[in-house]
Symmetry: C2
Subunit: 210 residues, 2 copies
DNA sequence: ATGATTCTAACATCATCATGTGATTAACAA
DNA sequence: TTGTTAATCACATGATGATGTTAGAATCAT
């Protein structure tokens, strides 16, 4: 039996979802609150739900901030964002804050039920549009680098050394070459990347711009 | 009418999927090849498919490498990886290389069909297990920082300067304080983070560990 | 063969960084 | 009041980094 909680400020929607889920054989939906604050009170006094459905736009604390707090106190609760927002910032902030799923509000009741079942089985419910944005985000990660700035594999070795916080001497030791060779490579790397400090190389690299 | 292509080295699976999709009213599956190389030949001489289903493990060029090439030549083709691999590296490499979806091989034929329809409607087909990994990846992005290493806001200002590749002198100018004050802050930051170079601070910061 | 890259290396020099020590001021909590 | 923390500044010194110049050996494509 899965216990579900709802945080949603629209009473109509809240009641509708609660009644529907409560009606299901394998689900129990004992709590549906208006705000994160109320849900936090409930959580202190009752058995935790397995899954929370949560809106983003709420009176008082936002759903994203609320999720951070709930996840830090009760990390075992899975939270599905259920919202009208489909802008990338809200999506990624939610996921970073610990959301286990992200559904848009036009999702039908049977689909919501299915999503919860999906989640309990180790899946991650996402509306197709959301999945698309998430995937696009990854697609966009790679192609920042430009052709001219391609580093040779030896130069990459050097950069990896920098990434590990090594000094020239330590890189030289690790790669078994002289410190002056390291200097030479660094010079070439700086030219290719149009920078002139270790710091900038590390920043570029970790930002995926190499 | 959606045109589908398949790259899959197992003849049984390949033929099965091709026949099934070709049988559908709204789909046409004129090409199913053994390798990326063959598919590339086909693409040069025929109308492009709208969607490619592609395996990762293939004779000759890997599916991920192949996808990079296909996407660079024909960016309008959507590619769905269809594979047994569920390790994070393969998943993320695929997504970064431009995959529009990622399905595991146990996916049923009707689900594959549904995924293609989903894709054409702007969705992003993913097996639930895959979606879970993707979401977990985001979840893991935020919460690494630990309490003791919390930096003060002034220290954050200094770190931001480092992130921009500035020297002590430039940071001092930007914040309108003396260079020795910058040094002092840097010393404290190093103590808190247990590091001893600009490079390590930048690396930690960009890896989300601050 | 010839030229272009890449990797290797040395020498030199000035700038910047890392670190130690010590101190003043303000804000805030015990 | 006293202790703590944050932010500010100074002086000093050895280590490391950034940059210029030069050059031999290996690889590879034209």
């Amino acid at each position: 039996m899965a216990i579900i909680g709802i945080v949603e400020d629209n009473k109509k929607i809240r009641d509708l979802i609660q009644r529907y889920l409560d009606m299901q054989e394998e689900m129990d939906c004992p709590v549906a609150t208006d705000s994160v604050e109320e849900m936090l009170e409930f959580l202190e006094e009752h058995q935790h739900p397995d899954v929370l459905l949560m809106d983003i736009q709420l009176p008082g604390m936002s759903g994203i901030k609320g999720m951070e707090i709930i996840k830090s106190k009760y990390p075992e609760i899975d939270i599905i964002m259920l919202t009208v927002y489909h802008d990338s910032h809200k999506i990624f902030d939610s996921l970073k804050a610990g959301a286990s799923g992200y559904l848009l509000k036009h999702t039908s009741l049977p689909e919501i039920k299915e999503s919860i079942e999906n989640l309990m089985k180790g899946g991650a419910p996402m509306s197709p549009q959301i999945a698309r944005k998430v995937i696009t985000h990854f697609n966009d990660m790679a192609p920042k680098k430009n052709e001219e700035s391609m580093l040779t594999s030896r130069e990459q070795d050097i950069v990896n050394g920098l990434l590990d916080g090594l000094s020239y001497k330590m890189i030289a030791d690790r790669l078994d070459i002289s410190i002056d060779t390291v200097r030479a490579h660094i010079r070439n790397i700086y030219k290719k990347l149009h920078v002139n400090s270790k710091a900038e190389v590390i920043a570029k690299s970790l930002r995926g711009e190499i």
